[in-house]
């Protein structure tokens, strides 16, 4: 009997169309898998078996009746707990929202429902998406299916781990500084941060509004593209949403999978590729091999320099806390969520926030409040915005010469849970290669590049493209994926150690 959880989303959709499997069977298989392994992995904060099966039954009935169905109808999906789902608990990984049931759907939630995809549940994340390991979740960390002692990345470690442990074939993520790409990198899955404005943020609980972007997560480039097309497109509820059609990412993924990159100029960004040290050897090695594959397929590889990237991390850690300090002000116990009663409203607000927010959230609120204060604004927020402009100019200059830029997604393979929890700077450095894309609003992808020699853990390969050119990520990504899977004899995730089934 086929284990459908190992299939790709595209294969599942095709099998349903052929009548080889029903959505109820697929959904049940994933729910069973969650029951079997999530006790160890802890990818999910909430599982909605009943809701997922109800959608699956409707899809099966509609298919039986000969209805025209959307491409991914019946394929189950997991949603990062940052996105509001009507009737389903939504916490953004924070205790302050424990038990909150949103009275409305985010735009991407609506689109997933319209695509008739059974929603398996909500995935774990660092509280309010602040973190690179899920250790800052108010509900305990998620474990990396490659090694349960290690971090699954963050903030979207729940979504990535759900994919890597075959609990879900697709997942929604959100990426403010790498929260889709870094978890993808350390779990050997695929994740895309679309162009800023390419996917509606309406309903995504805001961390830093000018950096946040929802995006698709999958185990293959094509699956990720299929989900991207479900999620993307203009939304009048989000003023920053681009008023243009979704880029043809599925076509680009299919085109790339033919393995021809003749004439494509690819730039290796010197500043984020370990040229100056700080990157693990095994990471650099796999990265170099991937470049070799790209060359073999006809791409021309050149080195480019983006000198302002040196300041990107510092600018990011001013802009993000500043916006976050304001975005998180609404969590005050007055209208929703946790309330710690304390005499009057002012003290109640303070007590609720003191108890409801974790340390990392408090750290960033304090940073942001300080940075925005009268007299400091120009020195901090103002300067950070200038760096942001410089980063954008570096990208503009680079993309005038090359079609896409590439780098390792993260400097290292996944570290151990607890290893960096007391060292925020070491934690922040994890995102050194992913942050520039958020500052510039450009799209980025991470896909598996293999396992590091020294520890046998996943290494990610990052591709960046100019704004609105998300399709380029998929073309180059699918080409590289094909070359690598040919070499590995299948998906890298198939090499992950078997989880103990309980």
């Amino acid at each position: 009997m086929t284990d459908w959880t190992r299939a790709s989303a595209a294969e599942m959709a095709a099998a349903m169309r052929r009548g080889d499997v029903t959505s109820v069977e697929l959904t049940r298989a994933h729910l069973d898998r969650i029951t079997a392994v999530d006790g160890d992995v802890h990818a999910f904060l909430h599982v909605d078996a009943e809701g997922a099966l109800a959608t699956a039954r409707e899809v099966d009935a509609a298919r039986a009746a000969g209805d025209d169905l959307p491409p991914l109808a019946g394929v189950p999906i997991a949603i990062k707990d940052v996105l509001v789902t009507e009737g389903l608990p939504t916490t953004a990984g924070s205790r302050i929202l424990e038990g909150w049931i949103p009275p409305y759907d985010g735009t991407v939630t609506r689109r997933i429902r319209a695509a008739r995809m059974p929603i398996l549940g909500k995935t774990n994340m660092d509280e309010f998406a602040m973190g690179s390991s899920t250790e800052h979740s108010g509900y305990g960390p998620t474990h990396n299916p490659w090694d349960l002692e290690r971090i699954p990345g963050g903030s979207g470690g729940g979504s990535a781990a759900a994919l890597a442990s075959f609990e879900a074939p697709l997942a929604v993520g959100s990426d403010t500084g790498g929260s889709i790409r870094q978890p993808a990198s350390v779990t050997a899955t695929v994740g895309v941060k679309p162009t800023y404005g390419g996917v509606s943020r309406f309903g995504a609980i805001a961390l830093a509004s000018s950096l946040d972007q929802l995006g698709p997560c999958g185990r293959t480039v094509l699956d990720t593209a299929l989900l991207h097309e479900v999620m993307g497109g203009h939304d009048e509820m989000d003023a920053t949403s681009l008023n243009e059609p979704v880029p043809p990412v599925v076509d680009a993924a299919r085109d790339g999978a033919r393995g021809d990159l003749s004439g494509v100029r690819i730039g290796v960004v010197k500043e984020i590729s370990g040229a100056d040290g700080g990157f693990q050897d095994g990471v650099k090695q796999r990265f170099e091999e991937s470049l070799e594959h790209l060359r073999t397929m006809g791409a021309e590889i050149v080195e480019v320099s983006c000198p302002s990237f040196e300041y990107a991390l510092a600018a990011y850690y001013v802009i993000l806390p500043s916006e976050a300090s304001s975005n998180l002000a609404k969590f005050d116990s007055v209208r929703f969520g946790m309330r710690v009663e304390k005499g009057n409203v002012e003290r109640t607000m303070a007590a609720t926030r003191a108890e409801g927010f974790g340390d990392e959230v408090k750290r960033r609120i304090i940073l942001g409040t300080y940075a925005l204060s009268a007299g400091y604004y120009d020195a901090y927020y103002g300067s950070a915005q200038k760096v942001r402009t410089l980063v954008q100019r570096d990208f503009d200059a680079a993309f005038a010469d090359v079609a896409v830029l590439v780098s390792p997604t993260t400097p290292t393979t996944p570290f151990k849970l607890g290893e960096r929890i007391d060292d925020p700077m070491a934690m922040y450095l994890n995102d050194i290669a992913t942050i520039p894309a958020n500052l510039a609003g450009i799209p980025g992808m991470s896909l598996p590049a293999g396992l590091a020699e020294e520890d046998g853990l996943p290494v990610g390969f990052q591709i960046l493209a100019p704004a609105r050119e998300d399709a380029r990520l998929y073309r180059v990504g699918a080409a590289l994926e094909r070359a690598l899977t040919d070499e590995w004899g299948g998906a890298l995730t198939a090499q992950a150690p078997e989880l103990e089934v309980k």
Binding site: L83, V84, T90, A92, L97, W100, P102, P103, Y104, G106, R201, F202, G203, A204, I205, A206, A208, S209, S210, E236, M237, D238, A239, T240, S322, E323, S325, S326, A329, K330, F331, D332, V334, R335, F336, V345, E346, M349, T369, L372, S373, A374, Y377, Y381
Partner: protein, 505 residues
């Protein structure tokens, strides 16, 4: 020490003031969401995830509100910025659902204008406008228990219906040189803003509902010695009196602050730079939070919204839709209607100008329209402690009522009864006249019968008339009017009596 008077205070000090006026726009929906923008609904029935600030929600700018703000800015002679941004004003307060208010900070859409304010005697004061910017209103807190204030309350309730209602805040430059006319200028300025927003049709301008609200900043400085330039004397410390919500209160608040600050200064005490609250019941102000420890609002550009970038073509198109300045319009109407200065001033002060205009538009003569609104209706409104426009009668109905009088169908006394019926919701004037049977009795045979009956009851009257004491007929007229419940045409009754007596009238 005898209490200082306002006049005495202004003999020694020179007032400088500035006003911030908040105008609630009458757009169909709120500033950043699709909720209805309507006054008086049940609490928390006009709310959605956006104006409740629920996690995940995002604002989208109401383009109609932007249009209204630009038209208002143009009416105030402002320049319109080609690109302006919204900003977040961060502060924790339960009626601000997100704990930040979306406002405009360093880039207001409308800036640097001026407005001519015409005083009662026709003199003109030009007020410099610093800016007119868009923002969202807050919700409304109600404190339960205690005296209704937050002190001593057992708990508070928040109604978010008003949260997110579009506002334009108009800020003046400091207004100098008004001396003893400071209160009059302040009042006239706010009245002019109110008239402009009504003429633009962008707000109902109802101060009593908070659609137009004013904060008054005022400071005093010593009067310059003879031959010295008053403008060279530095400003004193100012107070900001919040939420002054009627024209009369503006004057009174200025009176109060002039006297209060002058007393402090004369006693050698400093004026504290602070926010003060206006109390309508006692005509006084009390201190709010001190501006010295002012909150730091940590303004930064609102990242969820794009800049406001009106095209030059659109701005010029909007400029073409501006109504005439209220003062000019008043001068024109005064001329057209043949009103005296007093007629006009009373009508303006009663906020009755547009009601009178609409009544004339509906066919009434100007003096008749004025008489109704400034007479019977003003009395009724006053008795009921409501405004003229709260009365359940339309200008068209008033014109209809006057038409019935002009046609001779009813007399003035009956018209007042008919109006009473209209106000009681009994229908149009014609319907009330019919249903209450108010029409003047003009049927001669009925009147003759009534006259004969009255003459029979007072047999000596006829002889008196015939003796030349024609005024004796009055007793019979009165009796007939009484018998017909006022519905007889008194003139016609008199003619019949005289005819019966065989004398010429």
């Amino acid at each position: 020490m005898a209490a200082l008077t306002y006049d005495k205070a202004l003999e020694q000090f020179d007032p400088v003031f500035g006003i911030e006026v908040h105008v609630e726009l009458n757009t169909a929906t709120k500033m950043f969401c699709g909720c209805a923008n309507q006054f008086g609904a049940e609490p928390n029935t006009q709310v959605c995830p956006v104006c409740l600030g629920l996690p995940g929600s995002m604002p989208v700018t109401n383009q109609k509100a932007v249009e209204s703000a630009i038209r208002l800015g143009l009416s105030l002679g402002c320049s319109i910025r080609e690109s302006s941004r919204f900003a977040r004003k961060n502060y924790f307060y339960p009626d601000v659902s997100k704990n930040y208010q979306i406002s405009q900070y360093d880039e207001p859409t409308c800036f640097e204008g001026s407005l001519d304010v015409v005083l009662d005697d026709g003199s003109v004061v030009t007020v410099g406008i610093e800016r007119a910017h868009m923002e969202e209103d807050a919700g409304k807190n109600t404190h339960v228990g205690g005296s209704g204030g937050i002190q001593g309350a057992s708990h508070s309730l928040v109604d978010y219906n008003r949260g997110g209602v579009p506002l334009v805040e108009i800020v003046t430059h400091p207004i100098e040189g008004t001396a003893e006319r400071v209160a009059e200028v302040a009042r006239a300025y706010v009245a002019t803003i109110r008239d402009i927003v009504k003429a633009l049709g962008i707000s109902d301008g109802r101060m009593e509902q908070g659609s137009v609200r004013a904060d008054v900043n005022l400071s005093l400085r010593p009067k310059a010695a003879a031959g010295e330039d008053q403008a060279a004397v530095p400003f004193g410390k100012r107070s900001e009196t919040k939420n002054v919500n009627s024209l009369r209160a503006i004057e009174r608040a200025i009176h109060h602050e002039v006297v209060r600050q002058a007393e402090l200064l004369l006693a050698g005490q400093p004026v504290v730079q602070e926010t003060r609250h206006w109390h309508e019941d006692t005509n006084s102000t009390t201190p709010g939070r001190s501006k010295e420890q002012a909150e730091d609002y940590r303004y930064f550009p609102e990242p969820d919204l794009l800049p406001v970038e009106p095209s030059r073509e659109w701005v010029e198109e909007l400029r073409g839709t501006l109504p005439e300045h209220p003062a000019k319009m008043r001068a024109r109407l005064k001329e057209e209607w043949g009103f005296s200065d007093t007629d006009m001033r009373d009508a303006v002060n009663a906020d009755a100008l547009d009601l009178i205009a609409a009544t004339i538009e509906a066919g009434a003569k100007p003096q008749a329209a004025r008489k109704w609104w400034m007479g019977e209706l003003a009395r009724t409104a006053n008795d009921r402690e409501v405004t003229l426009r709260d009365l359940a009668v339309t200008p068209a109905q008033v014109a209809e009522l006057q038409g019935l009088v002009d046609e001779g169908k009813i007399n003035d006394k009956l018209a007042r009864q008919a109006l009473e019926g209209v106000l009681a919701g009994e229908g149009s004037p014609a319907e009330v006249v019919a249903s209450r049977g108010l029409e003047v009795v003009s049927d001669d045979s009925a009147l003759e019968a009534a006259v004969d009956e009255a003459l029979a009851a007072q047999p000596d009257v006829l002889a008196k008339i015939q003796d030349g004491k024609v005024q004796a007929a009055g007793a019979i007229v009165g009796a007939v009017m009484k018998a017909t419940r006022g519905q007889a045409d008194a003139g016609r009754v008199r003619e019949i009596i005289l005819a019966r007596a065989g004398v010429e009238g």
